[in-house]
Amino acid sequence: MDSRIKPPMGHDNAWWWQMAEEGKLGIQRCRGCQSLRHPPRPMCGQCHSLDWDAVEASGKGTICSYTVLRHPQFPGYEYPLIIILVDLEEGTRVTSQLVGCTPEDVDFDLPVEMLIQEDPDGFKLPVFKLAEFA
């Protein structure tokens, strides 16, 4: 069976996918200046600290932008595929997928909530649904 492309993983991102595996949406936090950053990086661009930890996001946010992918259709994905940028209430932004609605339902600024989707092969990733359908 075809499944989605798995993320290349290394020191700087594997922990985020491990949090997803545990059902959480992670945000990297600098232990030097407490600023949140995403996508994660090994050094804080403001205070240059190498120390960081991760906080669990509330999973609530609003749609900053979106696109509906229709073609070409790759194995392991369901089309039309709605991709969204989410402004999380913590202040960082994340790229994800909107599920549980049709392309006609999606619009800018709509509130969304995170859920963990588990693929048939057991891979887990954070996706979002419209808050009104929550």
Partner: protein, 391 residues
């Protein structure tokens, strides 16, 4: 004491292969053919080449090229990263090398079996951990595998905020197709495009449809850079490099700079504009024609704003009044561009900039063309260049 590159160097030769969907030859063969053609165009022997510059994405090593074309000693070779963002960057490298005496005859090349060989947007995965592959990890698992999907996210936000319509994108596609109708090299030659066709074409990554996308092409294009002084004595009318720069700025990602405060402009292109205008001592009012990088139609409208041809959110008005057409304020991609001539990663747009300066474009405007603006890839670390008449 810093050296200004203004008017120090010139493009003395351009060379192309045929543009096809299936070349039937190696990328090395395409590279050798276009480099030989650029030398012939300039009236320079390939044995005189002492510098080569290409893209990191190009599969053909400089030393393979040098042996193939019979170049002798190379004192300068380099590569620029970030796909089409490299286009003008290769010229910047060549100009620096020539202006500082590292080399005297530098050829920039890009040769690709872009349709029959490795196509764009195949995704990346596996237990690998370069910083670039980690970057893609935020997108590929979600199904964002093609360049159009990455650009659509920015295009949609921009269009929503400023009331840019699909018809506006269609106007860009049709304007460039109309240019291609005059250009026998172009994919779009003999293939007119109507707004009805545009609007009814297949949706790929909303709001982008089939005709918003550039071509996929097999072909090569080479650009020969030498000193402005020497170029005056060569075969062709030189296209003097008035200003050239690379540009990457805060929050820069490759195609997915989604985490900046606002997603309504192209900060790296604005930086390129500031620097190239400053170096050339020119402004948007001095630019007579342009070859703005056009992997996607939406990028043209946004760049009109980045380069100061109009105010923020006003790019759509320029497009609606026909500014990009052959008789418009800013005839743009008069060969058809990446959308309707060929996708040689922006190198063919540089070649067209040179033709416009020479007065040899198949889409040559009736007005005098003193200065042409050329840009590199959009949504990636990029660059810009202003070409001018010999001084």
């Amino acid at each position: 004491m810093p050296i200004s590159l203004k008017n120090e160097t010139a493009i003395a030769g351009i060379g192309l292969t045929e543009f096809t969907k299936h070349s039937g030859v190696s990328e090395l063969s395409l590279a050798a053919q276009c480099i030989k053609a650029a030398c012939d165009d300039a009236g320079v022997s390939p044995a005189e080449i002492d510098g080569l510059v290409s893209y990191t994405l190009d599969s053909t090593d400089e030393i393979e090229v040098a042996r193939a074309v019979g170049a002798a000693d190379l004192s300068f070779f380099s590569r620029i990263n970030y796909g089409g963002g490299a286009a003008v960057g290769t010229i910047a490298q060549a100009a620096m090398a020539v202006a500082t005496g590292q080399a005297s005859t530098v050829v920039c090349y890009r040769a690709m079996n872009g349709r029959s060989g490795k196509r764009m947007g195949q995704g990346v995965s596996g237990e690998i951990s370069s910083s670039d592959l980690i970057h893609w990890s935020w997108y590929t698992p979600y199904g964002m595998l093609i360049p159009g999907s990455w650009i659509a996210m920015i295009a949609n936000k921009y269009m929503h905020r400023y009331g840019v319509t699909r018809e506006d994108l269609g106007r860009v596609a049709i304007s460039q197709r109309n240019h291609a109708l005059r250009n026998p090299r172009a994919y779009g030659y003999g293939k007119p495009l109507t707004m009805e066709q545009y609007l009814s074409s297949k949706q790929i990554a909303e709001p982008l449809c089939l005709y918003d996308f550039c071509q996929e092409t097999d072909g090569g294009c080479a650009i020969l850079v030498t000193s402005a002084e020497r170029a005056r004595d060569l075969k062709q009318q030189p296209a003097v490099i008035r200003g050239v720069t690379q540009a990457s700025t805060r929050g820069q990602e490759q195609m997915t700079s989604y985490y900046r405060d606002d997603l309504l402009s192209l900060p790296e292109m604005e930086m390129a504009a500031r620097r190239v205008y400053a170096m050339a001592g020119l402004g948007p009012e001095d630019i007579d024609a342009a070859c703005l990088y056009d992997a996607f139609t939406s990028e043209i409208i946004m760049q009109l704003e980045s380069f100061g041809f109009c105010g923020t959110g006003e790019g759509k008005y320029l497009v609606r009044e026909g500014a990009l057409d052959i008789d418009g304020r800013l005839p743009n991609n008069t060969h058809g561009g990446l959308i309707s001539e060929a996708y040689i990663h922006g190198m063919n747009n540089i070649a067209e900039g040179v033709r416009l300066i020479r007065g040899e474009s198949t889409g040559q405007p009736a007005k005098s063309v003193e200065h042409v603006l050329v840009s590199s890839g959009v949504g990636v670390p990029t660059g810009a260049m202003i070409l001018g008449q010999a001084v």
